[in-house]
Each structure stands twice: as structure tokens, then as C-alpha cells.
């Protein structure tokens, strides 16, 4: 297998994982697919460092692009809050469909997670990163990662009320 073919095969193998990772961050299938597509294009354009594992590298790009998107959204919301309000109340067909696949309370609990907790839980639980890797990616101490992951799971657990 040539390097080019192997490179493409690694991307294709990683795509389903990256798509889940992107969906976990964006909570919207259309946005997740756009994000995944951009990640692929970025990898094709810039390549992957020799010492990097393809899937982990794509997760990292995905997270960085999502953060860029959040920043841009915040700028837009500041500039035109009425547009942001309208955007926030719309429900996509994907969200309606996905709500039918999971208990609604659980779905709502997960979608209500603040971005800072969603980000770290995605990196750990979906991306499979260690706390040390996550701390490096987010440039925070490991203790902060531990605290945020615990808080994120607790928020979901408390909202769903598994033992109520």
C-alpha cells in the first residue's frame, strides 16, 4: 500500500469516530458533518505530523475548529443578539429525529451541558484522551480536568435523576 493510499485509508477509518466527536461537541448533525468535512480537508491540506496518530490528530483539529466556531458565534451574538436568540430557539430535523432515539430527559440533560464541560467530556469520553493529554490540549492542570469531567457527569446524572 502506498503512503498516499494508507493516508487516505487512515482518514476513512477515523471519520466515524470524528463524526461522533463532532456531534458530541455541536449537538447538531448538520454542523457535525460540516465540522468533520473541514477536519478532513485540513488533514488533506496540511498533513499529519509523523509522530501523531491520525484519529487523535483529527480529534484535536475538530476541537480547535469547534472552538473557533464558538468564538465567531460569540462575536456574532454580541453584534446581533436578536439573531442569536432566534437561532437558539430553532429545532433542527436532526434534533427531532435524535430525540426519538434517546429518552428525552437524557437528551435534554446532555444538550444542556455548558460548553466548557461538554468539551472536556467529549475529549475524554468520546476522544479517549487521558487526563494528562486533555490537560495538555486545553492548557489547564490535570486537577482541573478531573474536576470538570466529574462535574460534567454529575450535571447529566442530576438532571436525568437516575435513582429518583
Amino acid at each position: 500500500m502506498s503512503r498516499k493510499t494508507q493516508f487516505e485509508a487512515e482518514i476513512l477509518e477515523a471519520v466515524p469516530h470524528v463524526r461522533r466527536f463532532a456531534y458530541s461537541l455541536t449537538r447538531n448533525a448538520s454542523d457535525a458533518d460540516d465540522l468533520t468535512q473541514t477536519v478532513i480537508e485540513r488533514v488533506l491540506d496540511k498533513g499529519v505530523p509523523d509522530d501523531a496518530q491520525m484519529k487523535k490528530w483529527m480529534f484535536r483539529i475538530c476541537r480547535n475548529l469547534w472552538i473557533d466556531g464558538l468564538r465567531a458565534r460569540k462575536v456574532r451574538e454580541t453584534a446581533a443578539p436578536e439573531l442569536a436568540e432566534n437561532a437558539g430557539t430553532s429545532v433542527s430535523s436532526e434534533q427531532v429525529a435524535s430525540a426519538n432515539m434517546m429518552v428525552a430527559d437524557t437528551q435534554r440533560a446532555i444538550e444542556a451541558l455548558p460548553d466548557v464541560y461538554r468539551e472536556v467530556l467529549t475529549i475524554i469520553a468520546i476522544g479517549g484522551a487521558s487526563y494528562k493529554d486533555a490537560a495538555s490540549q486545553l492548557n489547564v492542570p490535570i486537577g482541573t480536568i478531573m474536576s470538570r469531567v466529574g462535574r460534567a457527569r454529575a450535571m447529566i446524572a442530576d438532571k436525568v435523576g437516575y435513582h429518583d
Partner: protein
């Protein structure tokens, strides 16, 4: 919700992730054995984790967008990458930057890149212009020669001052939306290639590589193999989110005092 509860949640969560030390793991297990509420809490956190993974997995059942589907089809057919040869699998953005240099400047000779030194200088003064002084993380004072060059000198032009020549190579917007510039410096004894990015209120050197100046050729830098060069290339790969700015785009940023609108990224 108390700090104690948050601490227990954090420790139980880390227990689920197998991220506790042996001593802490044993403490948590002792709690689990002796306290049914703690055991119940662990179960709730584990369920939350499982539901979160299931949530992300829902997209597997959702139809893929046309754009992503098309990209994957091209990838499967081998049409997504069009390398110059089968062995070239990507064309890093920093290479585009250097091609940009080739297109705008006559580069006559290469140089041997020496290992980058670890000499740190947190803040550069107006008189600290020797290339060997710059290092990753150095703040560039606005009043220094380098500070002036970063703000005002277009890529392809040179600026001489205090025994050193400065030659901006190209500019780009980083992945985090900051304007960045690659600048080559020469003095009588040293040469350097720097990457500097604009932070909130100052420019900061992100990476620096040092070399001996090309013999008989002033102000000429070229890509070169060696640890310093690799460090620059790696840093550019990390930093660059898109192709280098055109001269016109760069000129607009110079005129705007390098105020970049991040929403346009």
C-alpha cells in the same frame, strides 16, 4: 451542591476513567464498600457517561450531509488528494508561505541552520536586536526595531537598523485568529528566522531558529534542514490555519494596525 460533593464526583469520575493513583483508588473502593450512597453515585456517573457516549453515537444512524458524503467518495476513489507524486501526501501551509517568498523575492543562497539555543530573554528591549537573543515566548516591545518591522514593514521589503537587517517573509492568520509574521534577521555574526504573532497588546515570538548567515549574501534566507528549521516548520504547521496572506491583504492589516476581525476566519 457542596465542594465535598464536587470532590467526590471528581474522584468517582476519575475512578471510572482509571485515572487515580493506587492509593486514591483504594480509598475510593473503601468508600464504595462502606457507603451505599457513594456506590449509587458511582453508578449514576457511569450511566451519565454511557448516555453521553450513546448520545454521540446517535449520529451513526443519521444521514450524512451531501458535502461530507462527497468528500468521502472522493477520498475513496483517490481523487481527493492530487499530489505531485504518490509519495507526496500533503503540501503544508508553511511551504506555501515559502513559495510565496520565492515568488516575491530573489533568494540566492541557503544557509546551514545551527541547533536552536535555549537562551531565554523574556522581554526584548530596543537595543536587544541580536538575532541570537530572541526565543520562543519573548515579548517584542513596540519600541524595538523588531516591533517596528512587525508593525510596518511589508513582506518582501527589508529594514536595516542597529547593525541588523530585518526581512519579513510572509504573514498569515493563526488557527486562533491572530495575525502572525515570519521574519528573517541577519547581523554580522548570526541569522535567524522568527515567527511572531500579535497578542492582545503586543507581538510575541512564537518560534525562533538560528543559523550562520549565508556567506557573501546579505539578507538571504532559505529553507534548510536542521533542528532549527524543523522547529520553524513544525510551528508553522501548528499555527497556520490558512494560506499566507496576499500582499494586498497584508497591506490592509498594516494600515489597520494589525487589527484582525476574528469572525472572518
Amino acid at each position: 451542591m457542596t465542594d465535598m460533593t464536587h470532590d467526590i464526583d471528581a474522584r468517582l469520575s476519575a475512578y471510572l476513567d482509571d485515572e487515580l493513583s493506587e492509593a486514591d483508588r483504594q480509598k475510593v473502593e473503601a468508600l464504595l464498600i462502606n457507603d451505599p450512597e457513594i456506590a449509587e453515585r458511582l453508578e449514576a456517573l457511569a450511566l451519565a457517561d454511557s448516555d453521553f457516549a450513546d448520545y454521540a453515537g446517535q449520529i451513526d444512524e443519521m444521514p450524512m450531509s451531501e458535502g461530507l458524503s462527497g468528500t468521502l467518495d472522493r477520498l475513496k476513489s483517490g481523487a481527493a488528494v492530487e499530489p505531485e507524486s504518490a509519495e507526496i501526501i500533503s503540501f503544508p501551509l508553511w511551504k506555501r508561505g515559502l513559495r510565496f517568498v520565492d515568488e516575491h523575492r530573489a533568494i540566492a543562497a541557503g544557509l546551514v541552520v545551527a541547533a536552536m539555543t535555549a537562551t531565554a530573554l523574556p522581554i526584548l528591549t530596543a537595543h536587544d536586536v541580536a538575532p541570537e537573543r530572541y526565543n520562543s515566548g519573548s515579548m517584542v516591545l513596540a519600541s524595538s526595531d523588531l516591533g517596528e518591522v512587525l508593525r510596518t514593514t511589508a513582506s518582501g521589503e527589508t529594514h536595516s537598523d542597529s547593525g541588523a537587517e530585518y526581512a519579513p517573509q510572509f504573514s498569515f492568520i493563526s488557527a486562533s485568529g491572530e495575525p502572525c509574521r515570519v521574519v528573517d534577521l541577519t547581523s554580522a555574526s548570526e541569522a535567524a528566522r522568527l515567527i511572531a504573532c500579535q497578542r492582545a497588546d503586543h507581538w510575541q515570538v512564537e518560534q525562533a531558529a538560528y543559523s550562520e548567515p549565508a556567506q557573501g549574501v546579505q539578507n538571504t534566507f532559505q529553507t534548510a534542514s536542521g533542528p532549527g528549521s524543523e522547529a520553524i516548520e513544525h510551528a508553522l504547521d501548528e499555527l497556520m490555519a490558512a494560506a499566507p496572506l496576499s500582499l494586498a491583504e497584508e497591506e490592509q492589516l498594516i494600515e489597520a494596525g494589525w487589527q484582525h476581525e476574528t469572525e472572518d476566519n
